[in-house]
Amino acid sequence: MAHVNITIDGTPVKTNEGDKILWAALEAGIYIPHLCAIKEAESPPASCRLCFVEIEGYSSPVTSCTETVKEGMKIKTRSPQVDRLVKSAFDLLMSVHHLECKNCPANRRCALQEVAKKMKFPLRQKTHQKIEMELPVDDSRSDFGLDPNRCVLCGRCIWVCNELVGCRVLDFARRGLNMSVSTFDGAPLAKQEDCTGCLKCVEFCPTGALYLNSDEDIIKAEVGRL
């Protein structure tokens, strides 16, 4: 595998041919905000619009999850244009996100909190009017639940359920702002016979949208993280 040498924020980084900038940066310990990218997936959705970077010679910022490394690339993860776009995307996400960190099962391990902390953005954005989606929560199962009010529509759970595990119980339904992660006909998770309860969807969820219900599983997950 050929090596490709690039610089990110002035730091030289050795990458492999075909690598995407996002993973190269993260592996080198350089943070780039991201929600929807999955390294193992065939192609990145590039839907969260948080991972913008500026590349010397390019007319405008590009998403680092879709951009392949090229020899000699000079990349900046922060710049006035990048920061403006990333903050804008983040504010938009937070404007429809049900913010209640204290009571959220993902508190302190949430990807949105990470973005806010690393980029010094407020979680409680003031740019836009807050929209409380007030969607029904599916708490029908004893092992895990789905709260769409905390969902950022990254699609990672859908990838896991369809491509990795193969149960195909979850998929995106509807369109636009009405789009949500859904079961067939929106039926309760408890009624999904094809769900094996593998809990991989919870593992992959960057926020508290998918969460563990049983104490046993929560403890197991915590132990696994330590």
Partner: protein, 649 residues
């Protein structure tokens, strides 16, 4: 010449086909023959064309007159529908408009039996003649350059022989006689750019596919035409579908693709049926199939129906839809020419671009390039609608100014109203004011002005249209049609819409305009696909050119055009209202109109839902209902008399 195909066989087969077609068409054109061509595309039908056709048949039969009555497509002059072209011995073919079964009865009587041309409904003769004024003498037709519309309204779209007799498929035969590289050079020299709105040079896309020689590849014709107000692609498919089949054959030959798809939006059932029939007829005559006209070159086309999603006009979303998936756009690169339908190289072209392709070869690149401007060659086709005297399809050379199209050809704004803006490019486009009317119609000038060529919808707005409301309307559309994949479009358009709604309801604040501008720029830069990237355009152009209207809504709670319901009140002028008349009272759905002590009618502002019914009901000789904005300026009126409750003991 190409070694891998039998050009001679194809040419021979085509010649014999042309002979047959010419004979059939010739019968129609015979000096002693009579015919009636009734414009019966979708808008013709909704205006009553089928009843008119029936009337012609019955009337001609009842008088024992032998004439062929054929349904043709749309002539483009929709303002005069139902239309028919009538030919009888001794006269040129005559275009008649505003027909109805009764008028047809008179027409047959007068024109066929009494040789009276019936000038009251006569629009013009089609061909050169020394008896009657021609259509070409009227600016509406004379200033047009009909190339994409060359056969529309003049032939039976369901008869391939008519098309062939009128030059269809000859361009394809010429292409077959060249090598792929030669054909590509001709295309390049013609300067043809994509007419779906993007304006990307047609030859470039084809070259990308040629460079992938040997690999399976596909062609897609984008007939999704989701722009509300656009109906050019529909018209071409309904009136001259063979122009599209031929365009795809040419493209198929040049790129080496063996299969093509026509993706038609489902809301166009007649277009779907016509293109499907055209394909079937092409197969029957050997123009599609495993070996086109015996040449050895195989090409076939399949029709795919859309299922109702504006975003599927975006090429990667369309590809996903054809694959049976949710129509979500994909990141580019990789571009469809590298990885498209089923992962194979694919070229997506708009209907108009394909309909123009044959001309490049029948006319030659030099002649083709002689029409238009330096950088935008050929013609532009628009669907002119809204506040215009002559709505319908207008085709002009690139470089024609907006003023010429709207006033000289379109006939200006009717009813003595003042022109306010022209909306071009649908929800992705912009609104241009009077000061910009001398902008030439070409890809680059329009982008510079802040609009886009788009897919050719041109809607005229007058003094009774509110620009804030218009921007809100387009944002509402875009928001509903957003696929939801990316943050900026999904959530950003919602906030823009909410802000515009607030402004139109009188809840706007001075900082709102800057908020909209900032958010619009972010959405433009950050969205994944062009739906998102162009969604803010209506807002950006209306703020740029009509900022005063926004400020009136925000600072004075006034809607200058008196459209925004929360800022407008309906009021009955006491000195115009006539005591004995009650027309408005009955028309009012929430029963909000009462009579005061002088029996003058008064609108109860608390109950009024601004439905406009009273305005329509008030007799024109009284004209007592007016609209007032801001509502604070509504003069006080006598309060509604309390209803006397009858209490039953």
């Amino acid at each position: 010449m190409n070694a891998d195909i039998d050009f001679e066989a194809a040419q021979k087969a085509f010649s014999s086909l042309k002979e047959k077609a010419d004979a059939e068409w010739g019968k129609l054109l015979d000096d002693n023959a009579s015919y009636v061509l009734v414009g019966a595309a979708t808008c013709g039908r909704s205006a009553g064309a089928l009843e008119v056709e029936e009337a012609f048949r019955e009337e001609l039969k009842s008088h024992g007159i032998e004439a062929t009555v054929i349904q043709v497509g749309c002539f483009g002059h929709c303002y005069a529908e139902p239309l028919a072209i009538v030919k009888r011995p001794g006269y040129p073919s005559m275009l008649y408009g505003h027909l109805s079964p009764i008028i047809v009865k008179n027409l047959v009587q007068r024109f066929f039996l009494e040789e009276d041309p019936y000038f009251e409904i006569f629009l013009g003769a089609i061909e050169e003649n020394d008896m009657f004024p021609r259509m070409a003498d009227l600016p509406r037709y004379g200033l047009e350059t009909r190339r994409l519309l060359r056969r529309c309204g003049l032939i039976d779209p369901e008869n391939i022989m008519h098309a062939i007799a009128n030059d269809a498929y000859r361009g394809f035969i010429i292409t077959l006689s060249k090598t792929r590289e030669e054909a590509l050079e001709i295309c390049k020299a013609s300067g043809l750019r994509g007419l779906g709105g993007g304006g990307f040079p047609a030859w470039k896309k084809r070259q990308m596919l040629i460079s992938r020689e040997g690999e399976e590849c596909y062609l897609i014709c984008n007939a999704d035409e989701g722009d509300p107000g656009a109906f050019m692609d529909r018209t071409i498919l309904e009136s001259d579908p063979h122009s599209v089949v031929e365009g795809m054959l040419i493209e198929g030959w040049v790129t080496g693709a063996g299969e093509g798809f026509v993706y038609v939006r489902d809301e166009y059932p007649l277009a779907v049926a016509r293109i499907h029939k055209a394909i079937v007829q092409a197969r029957e005559t050997g123009l599609l199939g495993e070996s086109v006209l015996g040449s050895g070159f195989g090409f076939d086309i399949k029709v795919i129906r859309g299922a109702g999603a504006f975003v599927c006009g975006e090429e990667t979303a369309m590809i996903a839809s054809i694959e049976g998936k949710r129509g979500m756009p994909r990141v580019r690169p990789p571009y469809p020419t590298e990885e498209g339908l089923y992962g194979k190289p694919t070229v997506v072209n708009n209907v108009k671009t394909l309909a123009a392709a044959p001309l490049v070869f029948t006319e030659g690149s030099e002649k083709f390039a002689s029409v238009g401007t330096e950088t935008s060659k050929g013609t532009a086709l628009f669907a002119l609608a809204g506040k215009t005297a002559n709505p319908g399809l207008v085709e002009v050379p690139m470089g024609t100014t907006l003023r010429e199209v709207i006033f000289d050809i379109g006939g200006g704004v009717p009813s003595g109203k003042k022109f306010k803006a022209v909306q071009i490019g649908g929800p992705s486009g912009g609104c241009l004011p009077e000061s910009m009317l001398d902008t030439p119609i070409d890809f680059d000038s329009l982008i510079e002005a802040g609009a886009i060529m788009g897919s050719g919808g041109m809607v005229i707005l007058d003094e009774d249209n509110c620009m804030v409301d218009t921007a809100r309307y387009f944002l509402e559309f875009t928001q509903k049609e957003s696929c939801g994949k990316c943050t900026f479009c999904r959530i950003g358009t919602k906030h823009m819409l909410d802000k515009l709604t607030d402004i139109s309801e009188g809840k706007g604040k001075p900082e709102d305009i800057d908020y909209l501008l900032e958010l619009a720029q972010n959405i433009k830069m950050g969205s994944l696909c062009n739906l998102g990237k162009t969604a803010p355009n209506p807002i950006l152009t209306t703020i740029k050119y009509f900022r005063d209207e926004y400020e009136a809504h925000i600072n004075e709670k006034t809607c200058p055009a008196k459209v925004c319901k929360s800022l407008t009140a309906y009021y009955i002028l006491p000195d115009k209202c006539v005591r004995s008349c009650d027309a408005c009272v009955g028309s009012c759905p929430p029963e909000a109109i009462y009579s005061n002590s002088k029996r003058i009618k008064v609108v109860d502002q608390e109950l009024c839902v601004k439905c406009d019914s009273c305005m329509g009901a008030c007799p024109p000789e009284y004209d007592a209902v007016i609209k007032i904005s801001p509502v604070s300026e509504v003069p006080p009126s006598e309060p509604r008399p309390e209803k006397k409750e009858t209490v039953k003991e």
